[in-house]
Amino acid sequence: MFLFRWLRGAYQSLFMKARLDRTLDEELSSVLGMMVDEKIRAGVPPAEAVRQARIELGGVEQVKEEVRRERVGAGLDALAQDLRFGARTLLRRPAFTFAAIAVLGLGIGATATVLTLVNEIFFEKPAHVVEPDRLFRLQTRPGYYGAAGNPDYVYYQENASDLASLAAYGGFRAVSYSLDGQRTNQLDVVFVSDNFFEVLGVPPAQGRTFMAEENANPGTHPVVVLAHHFWVRALGADPHAVDGTISLAGSTYQIVGIAPDGFGAVAPTGDPPDAWVPIAMFGDLARANGMDWWQRVPGSRSGWLQVFGRLAPGVTFEAAEANLAALGRALEYDRKAEDEGAYLQRQYRYSPRAAETLGSLSRMLMVVVGFVFLVAIFNTAVLLLSRATTRGGEMGIRTALGAGRGRITRQILAETLLLGLAGGVVGLALAHGLSDLAVSLFPVRFSTEFRPDLTVVLMTFGLSLLTALAVGLLPALQITRSDLRGALQGRGQSLRRPRFQSALVAGQVGLSLMLVAGAFLFARSFRTARGQELGFATEDRLVLQMSLRGMDYDPDQSRVFLAEARRRILDLPGVVGVTTTRMIPFQGDWTWDFDAPPGAQPNGEGNTVYTGMNAVGPDYFEVAETPIVRGRPLGMDDVAGSQPAIVINEALADAIWPGLDPLGRTLPVMDDIPFEIVGVAANANYYQLGEAPAPQSYISLDQYPQFGVHFLVHTSRDAAGMAPPVQAALREIDPGLVFGWVTTMASVFEDETDRYQVSAILVTVFSLVALLMAAAGLYGTISFLVARRTREIGVRMALGANRRRVAGEVIRFGLKLAAVGVVLGLIGAVALRRFTGGFLYGIEPTDPLPLVGACLVLLAVSVLAALMPAKHATRVDPMEAIRVE
């Protein structure tokens, strides 16, 4: 009620001012009339009565002003007035206003971009998923990297129903599909339990999700739910898509629903799938996709399903974990006694590796952006301070006319508020455009889009307001303190040295120095990373990804196909060598862990060994040019049925058998089957450039078949140009082959170095921006000083001081300012060395060359910034200068 009345009052005061004033007028004139009546009745002559009444009322205008001041929202009215006035003042000085908004916009924009990233990466909730915090990932059987077999999933689901509702998903990528029965293409399918969408709380956008009977018996219900993006891309958002059909790997599937827009991967990273199919269809689709190796999977305990669940109401994460671990231990089968059972992880969390990378990169970005932001604030403050001094006269007059100090302060703050808000708008626009570019810095594929959301918008405007306050307060203080009489006499400026400005400019120089030094360091680091030993060849290597569709291929046939394909490619003119490989460097993370065999040191959590994994064909090491340092590479004899063989790299050998010969030992990488170590390969880069040597293993593709493989072709000429003949050769074997990605190792490598380049470029751009602002700050402050000392300079020149000396003095002043900043910057750079070092490859953060270079750049910039004012100083006409006063 109170609020309502207040709002009504404020509304009336602001927007119905005229009516309120009219009513007040009427009331006062009626009162005046009554007073006159009274006095006439008392015998006062009419003219005298009017006079006396007026005296008694005491000035209609003053009463009205008093009443206005009482009105609700009088403050708002004054604020609106201040803002209007501020806007007019700003518009009258477009150059100043533009500069201030641009500087603030850059600073705020850079900050908002990073806010967007950090917000999206660390705080954003997945779209459409209900209460993601109550979702967990059930990790079982350490040998399978968290994946549970189907019977295990059923076991946990049946026994843990009072703790949580469990669902599962798993699957593979790249299934061929066709909409018209003619053209085929590839899509990514994920197999899910029938309650997958229910447990997540994701409702279908159209149609329905899966029903229990659709997952009850293998192969009985060919139904599919499509992802929204796939529906839009491949079906043109056809409104009648639901109940239509799509052909997956040659079989007809009924489209029962479309998932809501934005729902994709059930984790913060990874590509969103194109379609979901019940787990019961796994066997059919896998067989149809040509890999019957997988057929035994749904019924076996081999882990391939990722089980996740939603905690039942009232059940805590810890309680659920304890109970599920007990269930896991009770699950007795072929595993050893020391099995730790099950443990839980939050579903929407990054893997430790990703979290670390994301965390450190975000920190770097925040620091860089924080510097730019500070420079922007300092710069704006300098701009405003210089202007404040020139506005001393104006303010003096306004004070003389009765404006209170409070009102003048409010007035200046209103101006900076407008500047801050305009800067905020520019900043948000920048952030909107830059977020996608900035996100490419991260070596992780995110499952979400990056756009400033409401939180970021609010934070950005909060930041703008704080900025406005920060940059506005100093000039406000300076102006309200200024000498009123002096101001009116035209001596608007006190003769004090501009201490605030100097400090702010030195600060800008210092921060810029750190950024410039950072840019140099990154550039060097980038060059080093580019030139480093990769452990594999990048030139003249063609990469061809494909899915072994072949509806009628059994595993033997696919082996035959791969052998035949290799033979035909090798026969092509221009081909030096060819091999097959599951993984391509920098294209993701395929990591396995398993119990450490007796005598081996664990390098993973608990008693486990972890290693990056790859499955490769014959000649891999030769074609990739990854040297085998001991033993032999995997070859033609490592086929299904023979002793499983594995090649490990030096990093893994050193980690688990330090000082021992690993050859002949075994690793239980899969289902307790011992894989014999036949060779040791040199270390190579696998995950990202500049990484520390990581453990890596290679097994034979023939012994561990895969759906998706890459042909790696060593060509004697232009690798990309060899793609058509290679594809043609493969189509001769099977015209229905589906190709995925076609690229070269050189461009794969380029993409990876680009990421380094992006961070180098980003820091360079930011440092240039900061440098520019610092130069502007220096220029402004020096010019300001010269302008203020015009008279002094004039007098000195009149007394015979020579021009060069005057110019030298101005430049020295600039250099002195810069020198203070440079020293501050160097101290800062050294203080931050540990932090910077984490992002550098092959160069020390305190390497003198980049630091000295940065100092020189800053000093050169300061001389340049001082040149113009120095020239002005020498042109001071003594006569003019003295006459000014």
Binding site: R5, G9, T23, L24, E26, E27, L28, S30, V31, G33, M34, M35, D37, E38, E56, L57, G58, G59, Q62, V63, E66, V67, R69, E70, R71, V72
Partner: protein, 110 residues
């Protein structure tokens, strides 16, 4: 003693207006005259403080202004106590009594 005539605490003025209006609607001038009469000239409420007070109290919803005819057939704005104003009057009266009692105690003690 002239100062005591004008040194009306703002709260006191509000209370006086509310009290006076509780006896029936009055226009601004009537209100001023009424207070003058009752206090036998001790408090003279000047228009410069009366009208802002009336305005403020009207916005707070304690009183309501209505245009009517004065005794001399002039259009005048009459103020009337609302129920919120009546409640407010009760509160202020109580506070006032408390204050007077407390001060009296202090004064008697010395």
């Amino acid at each position: 003693m002239t100062s005591s005539r004008t040194d009306l605490l703002r709260g006191t003025l509000d209370m006086l207006i509310l009290k006076t209006l509780s006896q029936g609607p009055l226009h601004g001038l009537g209100l001023s005259r009424q207070i003058d009469q009752v206090t036998e000239g001790a408090f003279q409420v000047k228009p410069g403080s009366l009208f802002p007070a009336l305005h403020r109290m009207e916005q707070k919803g304690w009183i309501e202004g209505k245009w009517g005819e004065s005794e001399n057939n002039r259009r005048a704005k009459y103020y009337e106590l609302t129920s919120a104003g009546r409640r407010q009057l009760g509160e202020e009266q109580e506070n006032w009594t408390q204050l007077v009692l407390t001060i009296a105690k202090v004064m008697e003690a010395t």
